[in-house]
């Protein structure tokens, strides 16, 4: 099977696997205790923290490990809003942020706060001017912007947003879940979140970095772990493996990103040539190296995924009929592009040219068959 769903989760990096197996033996004890095995676990944990901090451009004491990228976002958003309550209750976020950002915003609204959603262009890029105006409005406590969109791969104007936030004195939470380990982390963040399984680490490890000087207060009950930012016993072996994967990815990122990006360019060019009535969505240039998304008119997304699975391809879709909700993807909706017949292809490290050749060979006939079953010829 060709696994082309790296944006959902990247297969475990070999470096992470080795580190995980070693750390299961060496780092199982409670890092908060004072005997030898505990000190060893603590040393492994702190070494991983220093490594991750260096790779994301943070100080070790700014970095906490969470149990997922989603939890990092929830704590990052709600904790910064709590810490900034005196400054105001307005939260500004892009319209195509990950659902964890939008759901945290809903909690904030239910508690009486205000949320301003900044729209995106047809390619899914946040309007930097509108974002700057939104953060400058009085009472803004926090602004959130992803580095890159998880469904269509479009890069967001983080530098412009960071400049606007700095001028307005508003902290900026940057959600780097899709780009960490693939592209350098942009500067200018106040709070940074990421997820290890997206870069080839194990599941169950998220990163929450809070810049020194940014006011933050835990929205959860008091707990002494992770600098009082994240409750619960750290998964030291998984954190060690996450750091090893991030280190390995950072070393490979440039060459592998270039290679995958060329394959994505090929899919972007070939799919509309081979399949009639297809729209490739997302920015063709300002994009992640490994993600491409397109929508096929007159095709049910679920049928498309099922047929591609039968043909040996694991891909994902933002169409409503494939999701647990009846609503189509909020990302495609905000962009104003076709939500049905949607396919996201995201290339893991090592994705081969052969896989892409085969994908492009089977896709036209699959789409033709589904259309003809719906009476479209």
């Amino acid at each position: 099977m060709a696994y082309l769903d790296a944006a959902s989760t990247e297969p475990l990096h070999p470096a992470a696997r080795d580190a995980l197996l070693a750390a299961i033996d060496a780092g199982w004890a409670d890092p908060a205790r004072l005997y030898g095995t505990a000190r060893r676990a603590q040393m492994l944990l702190e070494r991983a923290r220093a490594e991750v901090a260096e790779l994301i451009g943070a100080r070790p004491d700014e970095v906490s490990f969470t149990s997922s990228g989603t939890q990092a976002v929830h704590l990052g958003v709600l904790g910064t809003l709590a810490g900034r309550r005196r400054a105001g209750t307005r939260l500004v976020a892009g319209a195509v942020e990950h659902s964890s950002v939008l759901h945290a915003g809903e909690v904030h609204e239910r508690a009486g706060g205000e949320v301003e959603i900044v729209g995106v262009s047809r390619t899914g890029r946040v309007d930097a001017g509108a974002f700057a105006e939104a953060v400058a409005r009085p009472g803004t406590a926090l602004a959130c912007l992803q580095t890159a969109n998880h469904e269509v791969g479009t890069l967001q104007p983080v530098e412009e947003a960071a400049r606007a936030c700095r001028e307005a004195g508003v902290p900026l939470l940057v959600d780097a879940a899709q780009s960490a380990g693939r592209l350098p982390v942009p500067e200018g963040w106040s709070v940074l979140t990421a997820s290890a399984h997206k870069w080839g680490g194990p599941a169950g490890v998220g990163v929450l970095a809070v810049r020194k000087g940014v006011r933050w207060r835990s929205p959860l009950p008091e707990d002494e772990r992770e600098r009082r930012r994240v409750p619960g016993f750290e998964n030291v072996p998984a954190i060690v493996a996450a750091a090893a994967a991030l280190r390995a990815r950072a070393e490979e990122a440039e060459a592998e990103g270039r290679r995958l990006s060329a394959l994505v360019d090929r899919i972007r060019a070939e799919v509309p040539r081979l399949v009639p009535d297809v729209e490739v969505v997302g920015d063709p240039v300002l994009r992640l190296p490994h993600v491409v998304t397109f929508s096929c008119l007159y095709v049910e997304g679920e049928a498309l995924l099922t047929e591609l699975d039968k043909a040996g391809f694991a891909v994902s879709s933002g169409s409503s009929c494939t999701a647990s909700t009846l609503r189509p993807s909020h990302v495609l909706e905000a962009m104003g592009v076709l939500t049905h017949g949607n396919v996201r292809v995201s290339l893991p490290r090592g994705a081969s040219e052969d896989d892409i050749d085969r994908f492009l060979a089977v896709l036209p006939d699959i789409v033709r068959r589904i259309r003809s079953s719906l009476g479209v010829h």
Binding site: A95, E109, R110, G112, E114, V115, E116, I117, V118, G119, V120, S121, R122, D127, G129, A130, F131, E133, A134, D277, E279, L297, Y298, V299, E300, S319, S320, C321, L326, R327, P328, H330, L332, E333, A334, M335, G336, V337, L338, T339, H340, G341, L374, G375, V376
Partner: protein, 104 residues
């Protein structure tokens, strides 16, 4: 408890309901009405594509649909097929009457 949206290409169905930008009543009566209520996308779009040629060039087709995907997909289809999305009007029973002008 409120939410404002600024900028961007599109409004969500909820935003459209909260602060309708379209007039409540269409200016021009449709020459053809396609009832796609209860049908999931892509069926409403397929019905529209099949039947739009039943109206004269310049005529308006109304697609009645209540699948939220249709709210986004009918205007997107218009853009891809170079027809005109005239407007989307809320129906009292839920869903929308989405008006499309045949351009060619």
């Amino acid at each position: 408890m409120w939410r404002r949206r600024t900028g961007g290409a599109r409004r969500s169905p909820e935003a459209a309901q909260a602060e309708p930008a379209e007039p409540v009543q269409p200016a021009e009566p449709p020459a053809l009405t396609i009832d796609a209520l209860g049908r999931k996308c892509p069926i409403p779009i397929i019905m529209l594509a099949e039947r739009i040629n039943q109206v004269a060039t310049g005529g308006v087709v109304a697609v009645l649909a209540d699948d939220p995907a249709a709210f986004t997909d009918v205007p997107a289809w218009c853009r891809l097929k170079s027809h005109e999305h005239v407007g989307s009007y809320e129906l009292p029973q839920g869903g929308w009457s989405i008006h499309v002008r045949r351009n060619y």
